[in-house]
Structures are given as C-alpha cells and as structure tokens.
Symmetry: C2
Subunit: 552 residues, 2 copies
C-alpha cells in the first residue's frame, strides 16, 4: 500500500485556497500511485480558527469544502481534518474530526478525544471530547486514526506543577484493543524551540509501547503568532525513525507502507537539536513571511536604532520579504550616539535595503514647548524619554499609513517581561518579531546571521545595550545584566518556578524578587502589545493570561 504525507501551509477561512492546495496534492499523490493521502488537523478551516467556530455559517462552509474534495477523491482516499457538527442533544456544538474521503463520500470519521486547553490551546472552548474510538478499515488494513493530542495523553510539562497525565482517558489505549496495523496522527502542532526532541519522543514512545508504526502529519506555515514546523515523522514499530520531513517547508511525499513494516529502507531527514538557533531563525522568517502573505501586505517598515534588536529584526524581515520590500528609518535624537546612525546605515547597505534618516528634534522640541506651561517646575523624567519613543512610533506609523507598510516591532522578550519599553512607542507595530526571544538569544541569532558573512556590523554586536533616551543611558543602569536577567526570566516564565526555587549562581534572592515584581507590574503593557511570533513553549500573547489588577 502506498500512502502520501501532505505537509502544507493553510490559511484560516480561505476555503478555496485550502481546497485548491489540497486537490493539487491529491493529484500528485494519484500520479505517484498512492492509495491514501494524509493531510493535517483542521486543514479545511486552517488552524486555529478560534471563534469563527462559533459561527454556524463558517462550519457549513467547512463541510461544503469537504464535499468538494470528496468529489475529487477518485481511486484514492484522503484523510482531512475539519470541524464537524455534534448531532447529539447535549454538549459542545462541534467535534474536531479526521474524515476519510473517497468517491464523493465521507467513509470514516474519527473525532478528537483529548482537547488541549492550556497555554495557547483552547479547544474545549469549541469541541466536545469524543469518548469512543474505532479503527478505520481500509484495504484489509486496520488504521488507528488519532488527532494530535490524542497521542499525547502522557507528556512532560516544563511546569513541574502540571500532571504528566493531563487526561483521564487514553484514546490510543482504547484503539490498541482493536488491533490496528498502524497509527496515523494528524496534527497542527506549533513550533517550540525547546520541544523538538520531546515531540519526536512522543511518537517514538507510542510506537514502541504498542509495537506499531506511527505516521504523524503536521502542517507548516504560520498563522499570526503560531508557527508550525512541519517535521512530519514516520516511526517504525520498533521506535526507530523511518523518515523525518523538512522543518518549515511544504512537502508532499509518497511512501510504501511495507517498507516501513519491513524496516528495509531508511529515509534520512534533517535532525536539528533543541534550542537550535537555525530552527529559531527559520521559524521567525516563516512567521514574518506568512503574516504578510496572509494579510495581503508586501512591505515592512522598521525603525533602526543602531542596537542589536532592530538589526536582527531587519535581517530576518529582509530574508522573509526581500530587500526591495523592507524600508528602514533612522530617527536620531539629541541623545543618540553618533554611531547609532552610521552603524545602521552600514547594516542597511549590507542588506541592500533603502532607508531614510529623520531627526526627531523638531517634533520633540514642539512637544516640550507646548507642554512647558503644564510641566513648569517639574523635573525631566521618564515622561520625556517616552515622548521620544512615541514620536518615533508616530513617524513609523505615518510611513506605514502613507505607503502601505506594516510596522515591525523589534522589542525582545527580556524587555517585554520587565516592561522596559514605551507603550505606543517602541512597543508599537503590527507584528513583534523577537518578542519571544530573550536578549541573550538575540545575540545568538545575530552571530548565526553573521556566520558566513559580516552582515550585522561588529560595532552593533559589541556596544552595550542602551535605549539612548537620556544622556549616557545604559540598560544596565535599570536592569540586571542580561545574562542574569534572562536566567531568572527563563525559570520564572518558561518553567513557571516559584520565586524561592529560582536559582541564580552568586546572586541573592532580592534580585529575583525585584524581577518578579517588574514582570507582574507590567501586565498592563503586555496587554496592548502586538502579536508576538512564538518560538518558545511559553510566549507572551495568547498563551499568557494574567490578571491586570492582581496583587501578587
């Protein structure tokens, strides 16, 4: 039996686009003599459809698209993911389903049993969990079709407080009693740079436990903050990897089932490690590219400060959109160092992007003038610093409005965590590129970008971080050294450790307490930040829900 894995990039609600992409893959599979083609979870609607699922008309359109695809499944069976109606009187209105389509009909339906509702997932918001599981009888074979989390009934969480068994049922345990020949898992599993190994291990563990081949089909591409790495994988019944598909690339690949069972042939695949900077870079480039493609925009504008963050973001944007589609703006003030502009100009030259230099002195003086009567007798403070940052946002947004650019935000995760940024100033933008990348990781990205050729000027890599909003200002004046800070942030945010369990070599707990207070007191700023491309297992944004008025 030949089968095909279709690892594709879907667009939420773009039914004709998704349908045509699916039909094209079916055509390729047929031409390769395939009997079965497998698409990923909710490929019909795109993932995550969120509250579009609360609209009956949206779900009707999903099912209409399913029918259009079924009509084209002649001599081949396709497994697609779609929401379907729960026809029972009670419960949530929908199921998250895998549908087998053949000769114009739905020949088999499997509904998802385990609905992830944590971090960025909120599937129980929409779907009724299935409690009964059946195998799909296909050409003398018995196939256990599972949907993403259905195979993840045991999983390691970064937060030690979570149970490793988050659910009280195990769909695969039930399915195994029905003696399947192999397992299919369709998923829409977003990338996390620290979960590369863990993801593979989930499938390896299940293959070994049940002694069955596991074919996992994930999607790729990005939908706003969520970036899907693809990396669909085939595991043999002994737990060995048979094939690993590329990360962040659309691929349609046909295999012979007997090769997997016999174990004769091993396909090679990419094999990156946890935390690989190469994968993080690919993820961010995919995230930028897809945000523009899917919103119909082509061009980005970005403020180049002479610092490492905006430099790295500009490199990533240029790779994603092309040098002709990125515009840089340098906006020096009376407090800017001389090199802030020259370094940026050098970077723009290296990237071949166009740039403008506009001093903010004139609007800054104008604001100082008109506010002078009200601020009479008051000392200069953070107010004047914020005014400068906000003037820059007004300029960048003026460019965005006038020329149809999207403004890219260049704040990093360390700043976002401790509130070291100006709301409506440097925190503005349509998409945050590195808002899930700690400052120390930004340096790693910069070095990776420079691995073959000096693109980011040496001076940008070496200068001490500064917002340059007052004379001789350095980040280190207000914040702990970024190596210390990031070490604390990682434990508090990503691992969700209690303050008294956070370990920082050679530093006392008052630093930890101070950082925690900064994190908690700046929720109100994060509430209004742009969507952040997610590359860790705990990003600010949809997966981080904190009360704004808490006293904790």
């Amino acid at each position: 039996m030949k089968f095909t894995i279709a690892q594709l990039d879907y667009h939420i609600g773009n039914f004709t686009g998704n349908r045509d992409k699916i039909l094209k893959a079916i055509g390729k599979a047929k031409s390769e003599g395939s009997d079965l083609i497998i698409f990923s979870e909710l490929c019909i609607s795109g993932y995550p459809p969120l509250d579009l699922l609360d609209r009956a008309d949206f779900v009707e359109k999903c099912l209409q698209t399913v029918q259009e695809i079924a009509d084209q499944c002649k001599g081949i069976t396709a497994i697609v993911g779609s929401p379907t109606f729960n026809r029972k009187k009670e419960g949530k209105k929908l199921y998250n389903s895998a549908l087998a389509l053949s000769e114009g009909r739905v020949t088999f339906t499997a509904n998802k049993g385990l609905l992830p509702t944590y971090d960025i997932f909120d599937e129980y918001r929409y779907f009724e969990p299935e409690k009964k599981f059946q195998v799909f009888n296909f050409k003398e074979l018995r196939i256990a079709i599972t949907i993403c989390e259905d195979l993840w009934d045991e999983q390691p969480f970064d937060n030690k407080f979570e149970k490793s068994r988050l659910y009280t049922i195990s769909p695969m345990e039930e399915l195994s009693k029905l003696h399947p020949d192999f397992v299919i898992n369709i998923s829409a599993s977003p990338f996390s740079s620290t979960k590369v190994e863990a993801k593979k291990n989930i499938f390896i563990t299940k293959a070994k436990k049940y002694g069955l081949p596991v074919i996992s089909v994930n999607q790729t591409g990005a939908n706003t903050e969520l970036i899907f790495d693809g990396a669909s994988i085939i595991i043999k019944g002994d737990g060995k990897i048979f094939s690993l598909l590329p990360y962040f690339e659309e691929t349609v690949e046909t295999y012979v089932l007997e090769d997997i069972i016999s174990g004769r042939i091993i396909h090679t695949g990419p094999d990156p490690e946890d935390g690989s900077v190469e994968l993080i870079k690919k993820a961010l480039v995919t995230g930028i590219r897809d945000y523009f493609t899917k919103t119909g925009f082509k061009k980005a504008v970005i403020g180049l400060s002479g610092g490492i963050d905006s430099a790295v973001c500009t490199c990533l944007a240029t790779e994603a959109l092309g040098s002709g589609n990125v515009k840089a703006l340098m906006m020096p003030s009376r407090y800017s160092s001389a090199h802030s502009v020259t370094d940026s100009v050098e970077l723009a030259g290296n990237l071949g992007i166009s740039y403008d230099i506009i001093s903010i002195e004139k609007p800054f003086s104008a604001f100082e003038d008109v506010l002078a009567p009200a601020f009479d007798g008051k000392k200069k403070d953070i107010t004047e610093e914020n005014i400068q940052a906000r003037i820059r946002a007004v300029m960048l947004m003026a460019y965005a409005n006038k020329f149809g650019y999207i403004l890219l935000n260049t704040s990093n995760k360390s700043e976002a965590a401790v509130g070291y940024g100006t709301l409506y100033g440097d925190m503005a933008g349509g998409l945050s590129i590195i808002g899930d990348v700690y400052k120390t990781e930004v340096y790693k990205l910069a070095n990776y970008i420079n691995r073959n050729k000096k693109i980011i000027p040496e001076n940008i890599l070496l200068k001490p971080p500064s917002a340059e909003l007052r004379p001789n200002q350095l980040d280190a004046d207000s914040l702990p050294d970024y190596r210390i800070l990031d070490c604390i942030l990682h434990q508090y945010i990503d691992l969700q450790r209690p303050v008294d369990e956070i370990e920082v070599d050679g530093f006392d707990s008052s630093v930890v307490e101070k950082v925690r207070n900064l994190i908690n007191s700046n929720e109100y700023k994060r509430y209004q930040t742009p969507p952040i491309l997610r590359v860790s297992s705990k990003a600010f944004g949809d997966g981080w829900k904190m009360p704004l008025v808490a006293k904790y």
Copy 2:
C-alpha cells in the same frame, strides 16, 4: 437556622485583604447569631485568577488563607470558594471548590462539575471537572452546594448555534437524588445588561423544578474588564423571589431559613429590567472605581473632544473617582470646530474638574515639516488624520507619566467594531470605559446622566458625530447612520448571526456585507486595544478571540 449572605468585592491575589474582609463579615454574622455564612466562588483568590493558577505557590497561599479563616470559624460555619489540589494521578491539577469551614477544619468539600469554557470563561484551562456529588450534612439539614455553572446545565444562549444543554451531566440532577433540603449556589458571575432576567430565571427554574429553596451568592466589584453585579438572590421552593440583594454593592445580610421555607416574609429588593441604562451606568462606575483602587491609582486624565463619547466617559470617571481626581485635556487642531473647546469647558465646569487647553498645531506642523521630504508629491490622506490623533495620545500619555494619571480611553463599541479609530491615537489608554457600549447606547447614557440636571451641554448631545481630523469631516461620510450600524453590529457580534440572517429594515444586504468586512479586517486593531469594561454578553476583549490573518 440563621444564615448570612456575604456579597463582597475581592482582589485577585490579595490574600490578606480578602481574608480580613471575610473575617470581618464572619464577625458580623456571628454577632447576628448566624449559624452559616456563605461567600462567593473563588473568594479566597479573587476571580478570575487566570494563569496565577498555574503557579503551585499561588494555590498554596490560597490554602494557607483558607486555614487562617477556618481557625476563626468558632461557633459558625463558613462556606468559601477556593482552588484546591486534585490529588489524583490523572487530570488537571486543580479543582474549583466550595469549602465548609468550622472550628479550624475543612468539614466539607464540593468541587465544581460544569466548567464554563466559552466567551470570557476558560475554567477547563485550570480545573478538573468533578463527576461525583454529595450533600453537606449540617445541623440536621442536607444542603446541596453547587458552584455557579453547576446550576446552569440548561441555559439559553444568544447565539442560536449553541446547544441549550452544553454539558453531558447535571450536578443538580445528581444532588436531587440525595434529597437535599435546600440549594446553595456560590458564583462569580459577571454582569451583562441583557442577562439580568435570564440569571434570575435560572434560579427560579431550578427552585421550581426541584421544589427547593435556592440561595445564590454572587460577588460584586470588578477585576479589570469583568464587573460583578452582586444581586445575590434567594428563591423559595415555589419559585418566588424571597429576597434580592443590591446590584454593585457590598452587602452582608442575615436571614432565617424557616422564613424562606414557610414563605411568610418577603424581603423587597431592587428590580431593574434587562438593558436598564441605570444598571449599565452603575456597572461602568464600579468598573472604573475598582480598576483604580486595585491598581493603586487615584487620578485619571481624559481627552475631551467636544463629542458625546468623551463627555459621557468624563461624567462616569468623575462619579467613580471624584471631581478632584479627573483631569481633562482639550487639544484643538486646525480642523477643530470652535465649539469643540467651548462645549468641553462648559462640561468641565459643570463637573467641577480641572482642565488644560493645548493646541496640537505646533507638534503637527513639526511632523509635517520633518516628513515633507519623504512624503513629497503624495496627497494628504488618512496618514495626516492619524498623526493628529497620535499627537493627542502623546500629550495625554505625557500627562499620565508626569503626574501619575491613568489615561482613560473613550472609544465606543461601534467604532471599535468597524475600526473607526487610530491605533496609538484615540485607541490608547489604560482602560476603555465605553468600548462595550454602542454609539446609540452612549446617547442613552448621556440622557440618563442629564436626567435631573443638565451636566452634558445640549450642544454635545445635538451635534452630528465627527472625528474633526479634516475639514468638515462627519462620521456619516464613512459609516452608515449609527442606528443602522448598531442594529447590524448587535446582530452580527452579540447574537453572532450569519450575514444572510441579519435583518435591517429598508436596507439592502450590501450594507451588511460592508460592515462585516470592516469588522473582520480590523481585528488587528482590536488586538492592541486597552481592556474594555464588559457590560454586554459579547464584548471585545478576552471573550472575543478572532484570528488576525483569516480570510473570512
């Protein structure tokens, strides 16, 4: 048997504050000879604690607080709401529990069975649903203790697509088999102006169905967007209302159980109707006041444009914070009408608040100057309009930074829906006051505010809505008349009707289609808006989760 209802306002994570408030109520109940005092859902932690529940140390502090309260329950039993640990090997790590406390011990535990996970609720994110239910044996009485949604297994949804039975179990049906004498329901049920009757009916229906008195205890106060109306209610076994506690007020009230069972005495209570403008006003004032109290701020700054929205917001803020704590800023431009300032000055005078008038001409000219080379040959467009709105935000935020004000946002729900506002301009602010109030309802609020005395000048009520960002601009140039627009928005947003089922007398479907497209294409703006005080059953904010890159 005497029992006491404690309808209080809790602060998330403020354990000592919540504990002291609870102990004070227990003291009052004891002094009135009460045997049992009932507090609301998750009163120990405050509701909603959100992802603080992912922190083991937070839950430990809840349980420590429970113990401190239990130690003070001498000669009285208290029912409190708290998260508790799920000690089983499988499932979510917590339960949402009601605990009976007496003589230093937890004498009974009831866990919530139905976990609302829709709109602003995401309880399955944290809690394991209980499947087994027991009655609490107390002084010869058998009490069915239920937690909020546990009694809501049948409910009408505004969205006709939802099933009225959202769950496959009914805790009260199970409890009724154990022959309870009466029902307690503890809740943290947020206000919605269209659900006033529906909420009462839930309790009336259950009382009648089981022939049992129902004692419902809700909290009051607000936590950011969620405003709790209190309105705790006692229903007799025949479904008649025995007592209704005040809306939006802390109350500790003692009753005699036998009076309810015998039906001899009827307490009177407030009895407002659905959509009552009085309740909406009270809700908004509560929301503002609590946001300031709980964040530790005292003073607000607000931009007064001469329009109805900022006028109403200023009145509400003045009622919530006091006239000494509200600062108005008038910022005329070259396009402002003469009356925009004079009307605002008159309003400020009527309210007794201080104000400053600062023309934005100087910074506006400065921006025009510095951008002129880049914009050479380009026509004036929305860019220049946005620059003006953003200059005003820079000024307001400068005041906020310099003097420690919170900037209040004055955008209404109609504007927020169709994206008629400037990101980082008039969409800025720490809290949106009327972002869940349609424009036509803003007029109702204004008339209500003026019911006894002309506070908002007549001219503000009569002038046609305008952003005044270009010569002779009117909202009606870009948008349908607000009566038509709001009618469409209500059906599409609040009732979630499909476009082809939206009825607008005398208007063709192209208007509806246009409005729908405006809503969908402006998700990116709403992603970055301040938290919005929620007074409807479908507000923008946490209860509205839409993909930004969808094509639909």
